[in-house]
Amino acid sequence: MRYALVGQPNCGKSTLFNQVAGYKAETGNFSGTTVSFKETKVRVLGDVVELVDLPGTYTLLGTNPAERVVLDYLIEKRVDVIINVIDATHLVQGLLLTIELMELRRPIVLAVNMMDEALRQGIKIDGEQLSELLGIPVMPMIASRGQGIRETFIKAWHAGEEKRIPQPVQYGEVIESAIEDIKGKIERGVFPISRRAIAVKLLEGDPKVMEMVRESVPNIGETIHQHLDILCHQSFRQAVWLVATERQHAARDFESKVKTQGESFLSFRDRLDDYLLHPVFGYIFLVLILGSFFALVYGIGNMLEAPLMQFFEGITHAVMQFFPSSGLVPELITGLIQGFAGGLAIVLPYLLPFLIGLGFLEDIGYLTRIAFLMDALMHRMGLHGKAIVPFILGYGCNVPAIMSTRIMEDPRDRFLSAALATMVPCAARLAVIFGLASFYLGPWVALGIYFYNLVVIAVTGRIITHFIPEDSPGLILEMPVYRLPTVRSVTAKAWFRIREFIFEAWPLLIVGSIVLAAMNFYSITPFFDRLFSPITWLLGLPRQVGTPLIFGILRKELSLIMLAQAFGTTDFGSVLNAEQIISYTVFVVFYIPCLATMVTIKNELGGKNMWIITGLTIIVALIAALLARLVFFLFV
């Protein structure tokens, strides 16, 4: 048995999924596209059922990869029951998708979610009446509090056992006769979805379905054209709108019979956007909110980092007592502990509060507001408002930043925002900026480097846009109402993101750290110095910094820590002059994303794009560092 959760974006589908799956959820990438769906196993009335959470979609045959995944999944995998989740506060819009789903001839259970929210808005919905009208089981639900979930699954189980196929909603006479005629041209049982659904999609002009049908019915195009002629001559509107309008009529008709609107209890929340989206105050609040968010993350991270590092140093000392003071084995063990400590003491203290805070901002509905406020600015870099999310994430760690590019619809937008987000100085690079530039040259230099970084990213975005022009139509997204997040959904979300670091990036850090320890032991480092010598020469740096730069690919903090080993002193100010410190720091900020980021780019965007982005960062790093040298030369 397999159940699929289908619903529009932001209807609470994933909240429902997380309630059922806990953190046992698995992410799966659909071949070809990279928009993910999640699967889990649940037990319903003694049966083990596979439950899949499909991406949110407004329509079954959509235009972006996320929406396409939904129909592809429904075609390719045998789904026994569709659990259609709709938002009770937007009944008409939700029912539009329900009407579309009912054409597929699969058992459906309708879960009317967010009943608590509806109640606050004074909306009452008669579930029994709705069930009678649609001819499918209907269950009211409050997924965030776990209410109605069990009952929904039991209803789904019964629907699946009885193979209860819903009767599709009838359109107007003209459309129905067109559907009948087209259905007659299609052989029964050739396609995995119902002939009626195919006929409707053909009328709506879906190119993919057209291609699919043309293989067995070569002259289908003419038939469709004839019908479109009839349809559109009787009405000035296009067929897409005719069908959509009829669905809307049906949905409104259903709503009017089941919904009663009472007094609304909303007040404060409605006024909130007047401040948070205000043309002036909106940006002030944005700076305040993001500023305090980062201050909190760095505060917590800093507080944990030092004692954890001390703890691991203690462990290293304790373990080393059992080994000879020199030799390969102690080097390797130090490498192992360092790799482990790097993840636990340097990355996780920042990543964990960051992801929890981000999940909070996301659930409350603020991230969409940021996208709204920043859209105009992002367009100057060839992106739109949604790309602000990977940028914000990038300051914590580039790994979740790359993952978050999934929210972009267009592959070109995904690539560009991933490429630019890798250049955002993450928490690890913050250590280099503060530990080197700020420590020896003052805090203003650090601030200057951050600003310089933003300028370089914006210019790079502009230049790339020149070569691959922006062709996506721009921002289309639904503004969610403010909702108070539950602890459970925020922590589940944070865990879901952090486990990818723990299970994928961290082991690599540890292995890499051990390998480098071995290289260090066999004195391969002069070789690296020579390898990097063209770069170090260009940047006017001493040759020895080549090895720290290599180590930096593994973990960006290492390009600071390893300097001590390279120079034989921790007083970098005595070996490097101000110009060298700046050009080194700038180069470290931009060049090659760390190994964990590279692996993430490969997983998300493919190996080819990983190498393109890596190459790009080296070029940008060189130009940025040389420019910084030039500025330093001219003005200081």
Binding site: Y58, T59, L61, G62, T63, T89, H90, V92, Q93, L96, E204, G205, R237, Q238, V240, W241, A244, T245, Q248, D273, L277, P279, T368, A371, F372, L373, D375, A376, L377, H379, H384, G385, P473, G474, L475, I476, L477, E478, M479, V481
Partner: protein
Amino acid sequence: MNLLQINNGNWVRVVGFRGGHGMERRLAQLGFLPGNKVRVIRSAPFRGPLLLEVEGREIVLGRGVASHVMVEYI
């Protein structure tokens, strides 16, 4: 007249759409259908996107998309 020409706070009625087929379907699903009423709630500064109310939902449309939605005053 398209959506960009409407001042904040005004109600208008959708009359048509100029642009690609895929975009049209997407907007239809969000409630931008001929005859439906739309209100421009606010727009972001620096030629930013529009926040619109349609069918009881708030939808953000970038200026590129909004310029394709044809409307008339009620």
